[in-house]
């Protein structure tokens, strides 16, 4: 054995001795049964990745499902997938929890006469449903989300075969108006796909594309590319956001223009007019639009939108000048009863600025599968109400939660004699269903998705189903075959898996599985003409119901989205990217409104929107909101679900927060699509207050070198974010050297200055992070975080939670500040004054209307070279490892907590309770990452720079007798980041990405650098591009 050196020999001896010792222990006997025949692909300890597709939203990002010993333990982005290119948002990552959710149904359940669910076999359940269908399948309807093209087609075949009444596709935030408006403006049925990556000017009309848009990770990546300061030293794309609220997307903009909600169409028209006046657009467009744009001169538009005329002129001129501009129409919560007209106006603007063919592709609509239609759903609700529906089969959607009360969905559902839910875990609809036929979760399923033409994405099972479930299509096919032989004859033969393979027979199925799908980038026509129908476009303010003084914004939550994320504990516990609140509902009001009502954060307000619609919700005043609106996020207010309701706080059945949908009027847009901006609200004090679960204390950075920014003009003139004169050490060294020079002495460096801090001529050089590793070690791990790319989306936080087995603590503990996240995103709003604050510091002090200045600062362990935590630990539980990492030995920790007290970044967390054992209800323990220790009560923990990933990369490198290559290892946070704001690597390798980015002399700085902690994490300051100039 020539390769076995002394160290390896000792390691092997150690393993043997450990095994012998373990065998000798008298702990209770647990039977570990090894694989008798080991599966070929599984090597214990080595993860296996499967390509699949995320089903958390319609963007359909590609997944790499990391499995260990047959269990999926983490979802990562598929780097080959054109939608997400390797990144994955927080919602997508949290989706893994659906498979291991304690709320999952163990198998088919039938509601007895006592109203309780009792298990039933698949055979009996199938027969029961078949019996119901035999008696009149014409009154049976399918209602659910889009299950993907193949399943969709099969469901339609099923509907035809059994002779069911029909199938309705339902998606609460479906972009229906966008398709309708495309038809109206361009006269073609196509899907508009925006590409921001090449844009030089982006205007968003209340489109929160970074958090809840059509494809958040994709658009975030594109925006970051368009604004990359390395590729575009002059600043890259300018970004203007029109909208009433400083949302996450707005906080990434250069200029936030607080326009009235619902005025997006008018603004787009006014801008189109300015653009045309300034020479853009063709003559034919000018003639076609002259009539429509007549009423939209800047002055009149200003009065209607709340944006002053000069701003409209200025932005319009800038748009006209821009070479590759793009305008994003309002979607989601801003869809009003005039959504189609507003969207059409924005598409018209896109046409006149010449976006079509460059930044706006009009892709052909996928031919297969139905699209979501709210109109059909309302028709179905009507027939349910009139008792014409005898069987309703609900899958993949939760209409009992997400339909407005005013549509009477609950009453209508009560009139359906037999409701079948295919939900895999309990939700509001399944609570009203008679029969539950639980579906596989996406990680257990076959399937496919087509987010847009040319992108065919595939799902494959990565684990044997944990519960007794069936694929939706298989369950329905079984039922159909049980109905009778004549139905069976009309149905396709085989299982869903074989049918899927058949549907993909045009390509190499095996290769598609390996790559996650088949991707061919399609582009639309290079240009398009306006349809004549545009001349009849009627753009106006939306009609809002209700009497109140405030417009109620019901915006999808960045994390819970339309409420589907509410039962995933990570999404509840990751702070809202804007307000930094967890587990709760809150009503955002402007500071002025709060003053007028005499309320402070936490005071409960009664919100009334007409009729019987009222709710009580704690208020959070903020400066980043127009005075005439109040905002309440969609997503909370569930009464079912361990985490979605208050069940995990010991109060099952009690709604967590407020479901804002129950406050909304049931309005639709011009073509019957769902409207969300529908209602005015009346506010009054409830006379009590609640504790708001804030996780950020104060948004004033106080010039402390935390979340830094640098003006673009300063950057261009060669200034840097760290003024060397500001460094106390530098100044004193300089002074001494000057003194010495004056006295004619040789400039010997002062004794207290470490020699490495001085350059060749005795001048001060900034701290070099490569130094803080053992001399001789080839590695010094380090990180750079580019604040200019960070949008605050919190994908990294989710990645950290799931990679590192970080426990969830719940609402009550969160209120007490005991969240365990190793990585948090601090949100600062400019620098602010360093005034002293009497009393308790308010959460928000610096947001102002029309003022952006937001810096998102991802904060985790900085792995300081001179770490304050290390010398104070009495037992060396935290120590500096030879590769520069600040290690944390849980087994050695006795819990004095001194390390956290002495950590200026406050990134250490303490295990107050036995979270490791108690906060992972069965079967969630199965999803723990076996490479990361589950911590016991009483010990400290913190970010390790994903040291387990470094170790995983070390062995292959060692086998090949080389160093770990740059890019071979990255942290979970960096891996998930849609904008690649985080870079991880070896600082000692001068060619590594991290070393190159971190050595940016102008934007690079270290957090709290005055403390001389010598962090391994280098931040790159956000670039303030300033408001748009012509």
């Amino acid at each position: 054995m020539p390769e076995l050196d002394r160290r390896d020999f000792l390691k092997l001896v150690g393993v043997g001795a450990g095994a012998a010792a373990a065998a000798g222990c008298s702990d209770p006997v647990e039977k570990l049964i090894p694989y008798v025949i080991q599966p070929e692909v599984i090597t214990p300890g080595i993860p296996v990745y499967y390509a699949s597709t995320c089903r958390e939203c319609s963007a359909a990002c590609g997944l790499h499902v990391k499995t260990r010993e047959g269990r999926p333990i983490k979802l990562e982005g598929n780097p080959e997938h054109p939608v997400n290119k390797g990144s994955l948002c927080a919602r997508g990552q949290a989706g893994i929890g659906r498979t291991y959710h304690p709320d999952r149904f163990p198998g088919p359940m039938l509601r007895g006469s006592d109203g309780k669910l009792a298990p039933i076999s698949w055979k009996d359940a199938t027969e029961l449903l078949a019996t119901k269908l035999r008696g009149g399948a014409g009154n049976a309807y399918l209602l659910g989300s889009d299950p993907g093209p193949t399943a969709s087609g099969l469901l339609d075949k099923w509907v035809a075969a059994v002779g069911a009444g029909g199938r309705v596709v339902y998606e609460p935030f479906a972009p229906e108006a966008l398709l309708e408006a495309t038809q109206l403006v361009f006269g073609v049925a196509s899907e508009p796909v925006f590409d921001l990556s090449k844009a030089d000017f982006v205007v968003s009309f209340a489109n929160d594309f970074l958090e809840t848009g059509v494809s958040p990770t994709e658009h975030a990546r594109q925006l970051a590319a368009a604004r990359d300061i390395g590729a575009h030293p002059e600043g890259g794309a300018r970004f203007v956001y029109f909208g009433p609220r400083l949302s996450m997307t707005a906080s990434s903009s250069d200029e936030w223009i607080p326009a009235r909600p619902g005025s997006e169409g008018i603004l787009a028209m006014a801008l189109a007019r300015v653009v045309l006046e300034n020479g853009a657009g063709s003559a034919s467009e000018r003639t076609l639009l002259s009539g429509v744009l007549d009423g939209f001169d800047a002055e009149r538009a200003a009065a209607r939108t709340g944006v002053d005329a000069k701003t409209i002129e200025r932005v319009g001129k800038a748009l006209a000048k821009a070479k590759v501009p793009v305008a994003l129409p309002p979607v989601g919560g801003f869809a009003s009863n005039r959504a189609r007209a507003a969207t059409a106006a924005v598409l018209v603007l896109n046409q006149v600025i010449g976006a079509v063919g460059k930044t706006l592709a009009l892709l052909p609509l996928p031919s297969d599968g139905k699209r979501a239609s709210y109109k059909e759903l309302l028709a179905l609700v009507d027939s349910m109400k009139s008792g014409k529906v005898s069987v309703l089969l609900v899958y993949g959607a939760d209409p009992a939660y997400s339909m407005p009360q005013t549509t009477g969905f609950a009453d209508a559902l009560a009139k359906v004699p037999f409701v079948v839910s295919f939900a895999s875990s309990k939700n509001e609809t399944s609570a009203l269903a008679h029969l539950i036929l639980p579906e596989h979760t996406p990680l257990e399923s076959w399937g496919d998705a087509q987010p847009r033409a040319g992108v065919r994405s595939i799902l494959q099972p990565t684990v044997r189903p944990l519960q007794d479930t069936q694929a939706l299509v298989d369950a329905l096919l079984d039922v159909g075959r049980a109905v009778g032989p004549e139905v069976a004859a009309k149905l396709p033969t085989g299982s869903f898996r074989t049918l899927l393979e058949a549907a993909w027979s045009d390509v190499d199925f095996r290769q598609a599985l390996q790559r996650g799908g088949v991707f061919t980038e399609k582009s639309g026509p290079a240009s398009a003409g306006l349809s004549a129908g545009v001349a009849k476009l009627e753009v106006a303010e939306p009609h809002l119901e209700g009497e109140g003084d405030y417009v109620l914004l019901a915006l999808p939550s960045p994390l819970l989205y339309d409420g589907r994320g509410a039962n995933l504990p990570w999404l509840q516990e990751i702070p809202d990217p804007v307000m930094k609140i967890v587990w709760q509902s809150w009503l955002e009001v402007s500071l002025e409104t709060a003053q007028k009502l005499g309320v402070v954060a936490g005071d409960v307000l009664v919100i009334e929107t007409g009729g019987q619609r009222r709710a009580e919700v704690p208020v959070v005043p903020r400066g980043g909101l127009r005075n005439d609106v109040v905002a309440l996020a969609v997503g909370q207010g569930h009464t079912q679900g361990l985490y979605a309701s208050h069940e995990n706080d010991g109060r099952p059945g009690e709604a967590r927060g407020v479901n804002v949908i129950s406050l909304l009027a049931a309005a639709t847009d011009e073509m019957g699509g769902r409207a969300w901006l529908t209602t005015k609200a009346k506010l009054s004090k409830a006379g009590r207050s609640e504790r708001v679960a804030f996780t950020g204390a104060n948004d004033n950075e106080r010039e402390r070198m935390l979340g830094e920014a640098i003006a673009l003009s300063d950057l261009l003139s060669g200034k840097s974010v760290v003024d060397p004169e500001m460094l106390g050490l530098a100044a004193s060294v300089k002074e001494r050297l000057q003194d010495a020079a004056r006295k004619g002495e040789t400039a010997a460096p002062p004794a207290e200055v470490p020699p490495e801090a001085l350059g060749r001529n005795g001048e001060f050089v900034a701290y070099n992070p490569t130094e803080d590793a053992k001399p001789g070690s080839p590695y010094r791990w380090g990180m750079t975080i580019d604040l200019d790319r960070c949008t605050g989306c919190s994908a990294c936080v989710a990645a950290c939670y799931l990679e590192n087995n970080i426990p969830i603590v719940g609402e009550e503990q969160s209120i007490r500040g005991r969240i365990m996240s190793w990585l948090r995103i601090e949100r600062y709003v400019t620098e602010g004054d360093v005034d002293f604050i009497p009393g308790r510091p308010p959460h928000s002090t610096l947001e102002r209307l029309g003022h952006v200045g937001v810096r998102h600062l991802p904060m985790m362990c900085q792995h300081c070279g001179s770490a304050p935590c290390e010398p104070v630990c009495p037992v060396f539980a935290t120590y500096h490892n030879p590769e520069g990492l600040n290690g944390m030995v849980y087994n050695r920790c006795i819990g004095t907590r001194y390390c956290s007290n002495n950590c200026p970044y406050k990134v250490r967390r303490f295990n107050y309770y036995n979270y490791g054992l108690d906060n992972w209800p069965e079967p969630m323990k199965l999803m723990l990452n076996p490479d990361v220790t589950v911590r016991c009560k009483g010990v400290m923990e913190k970010c390790t720079y994903c040291t387990q990933r470094v170790e995983a990369a070390r062995q292959p490198a060692k086998n090949e007798k080389r160093l770990i290559r740059d890019g071979e290892v990255t942290t979970a946070c960096a891996q998930s980041c849609p904008t690649q704001a985080i870079t991880f690597g070896n600082l000692k390798d001068a060619d590594s990405q991290v070393a190159k980015k971190g050595s940016d002399p102008k934007r690079g700085y270290h957090a709290l650098h005055v403390l001389n902690t010598r962090p391994a994490t280098t931040y790159l300051a956000k670039v303030v591009r300033g408001s748009v100039e012509v």
Binding site: G696, V872, I894
Partner: protein, 457 residues
């Protein structure tokens, strides 16, 4: 060098009553008589209370420190506050016994025994909190540098390791000091008692016969122990203060901390001696031994240390302003006007304003006033540590993670339990051991007789 005038010497030793030796024996040892019903009730209450607090602690070990009020980023709270408080209390004993012994301040004799006992019990109480506060008590032996096969060692850079050594050294020396001082008194008690007490005192007296050789050896031992203890008085609380000063937390990281903590410790220690001795004197009728003169002297000490502590407070504020350091300034502003203002103002008023009444001799010798002030000082000094520890941690460098700490009932129960724990030992002590050093009182009386004799000439 001319000897001091006789009158001044007489003045110096005035507090000693002119009583016969046997009377001293009787008066002081009377305290140790058969316990009465109220005594048993008090002791019973204390024992039960200590066990109740112990049960809370066991529950905390079982559940985890989550039942206390800790919340990120405030990871030290009532337990460390109370630890520092009791270490502070432990200072008066050694100061009185050792330093005043070396300075030959004879007035210390009436109070030194109880002060020494207090020291030992206070250290014992404080030491409990080192265990109560850690996350994993079952692994807390890791903090001791014991040889082990794994080659693990403690981090001698950590002030917490220094702390462990400082406290254990101090506990050992002060217990030794108390015991050595007690030996002649054990002998007296042995000679007067019967039954199991006789056996106990015989064992504890280590064969003391009052021979001059023994007295000589004893005197030497006490002298040497005093010499050993004197630096400890200064070092122990300096080390405790470095738990804070060695960190980089704004308002903790200050060079003033060691002297400031030592002065505060003596301040609180004297207050606690008064709080304990005034009721004992009253209940057991020791007015003849602990006189106005003692109160006068102790009150002067409190006044002096109050001024030192007050100066330290002012200096901290001044330095925060003068340094121009924004972290410090914000933290100091927050300390005085932030949500914890009640703690800060309680500290300032109790520690710097109220003791000023001791400028007046009438206040210094008026026992109820002295008692009341001692209580205020105890409260003020507990809050001083609360202010330093909790407020300091609440408002550090990163504004996004400023926090608020609120003590929770389990912590308050254990805090109350610590007082019961301390009082329990003291109550047992006064029945088992002479609460005033009999031999030293006699020695003083002899001196005084001879001086009185001289004076008569």
């Amino acid at each position: 060098m001319t000897p001091p005038p006789a009158a001044s010497v007489a003045d110096m030793i005035r507090p000693v009553p002119l009583v016969a030796d046997s009377q001293v024996n009787r008066d002081i040892l009377a305290v140790m008589d058969r316990p009465t019903m109220p005594y048993w009730l008090l002791l019973g209450f204390l024992v039960v209370f200590v066990h109740a607090a112990g049960a809370v602690w066991v529950y905390q070990v079982y559940m985890g420190l989550g039942i206390a009020g800790y919340a990120h980023p405030i990871f030290w709270g009532v337990y460390i506050v109370t630890f520092v408080f009791w270490v502070g209390i432990a200072h008066a004993g050694t100061l009185i016994s050792a330093i005043l012994y070396l300075f030959r301040s004879k007035w210390r004799n009436a109070i030194n025994r109880s002060a020494e006992a207090m020291t030992v019990f206070a250290v014992l109480t404080a030491a409990q909190f080192l265990g109560i506060h850690v996350g994993r008590i079952w692994k807390s032996y890791f903090i001791l540098p014991y040889p082990n096969q794994r080659g693990l060692w403690v981090n001698f850079k950590s002030p917490l390791v220094w702390d462990t050594f400082a406290i254990s050294t101090y506990g050992t020396i002060s217990a030794l000091f108390l015991f050595v001082g007690l030996i002649p008194d054990f002998a007296i008690a042995r000679d007067r008692s019967t039954g199991w007490r006789k056996l106990l005192y015989t064992a504890l007296a280590l064969g003391w016969q009052g021979k001059s050789k023994q007295w000589k050896a004893w005197n030497r031992t006490v002298l040497h122990l005093s010499g050993l203890c004197t630096p400890l008085v200064l070092s122990v609380h300096s080390v405790v203060s470095w738990d804070f000063a060695m960190s980089i937390v704004p308002t903790w990281h200050a060079t003033i901390f060691a002297p400031y903590f030592v002065a505060g410790a003596i301040f609180s220690g004297f207050a606690m001696v008064l709080t304990m001795m005034i009721p004992v004197r009253r209940i057991f009728g020791l007015e003849a031994y602990i006189t106005d003169y003692h109160f006068d002297n102790m009150a002067k000490f409190i006044l002096l240390t109050s001024l030192i502590v007050g100066y330290s407070y002012l200096m901290e504020f001044f330095i925060a302003w003068y340094s121009g350091n924004e972290f410090e300034q914000t933290a100091w502003w927050y300390r005085v006007f932030g949500p914890y203002w009640i703690s800060t103002w309680t500290m300032l008023i109790c520690n710097t304003v109220i003791p000023q009444v001791f400028w007046f001799k009438r206040a210094r010798t008026h026992v109820p006033t002295v008692f009341a002030v001692s209580i205020f000082v105890n409260i003020g000094m507990w809050f001083e540590r609360y202010v330093i520890i909790v407020i300091g941690l609440s408002h550090e460098y990163d504004p996004a993670v400023w926090g608020i700490y609120t003590p929770r009932p389990p912590e308050l129960m254990i805090l109350a339990g610590s007082f019961a724990f301390f009082a329990m030992f003291f109550v047992i002590f006064i029945k088992l051991f002479p609460v005033i050093a009999v031999s030293e009182m006699k020695e003083l009386a002899i001196h005084q007789k001879s001086h009185a004799h001289e004076g008569a000439h």
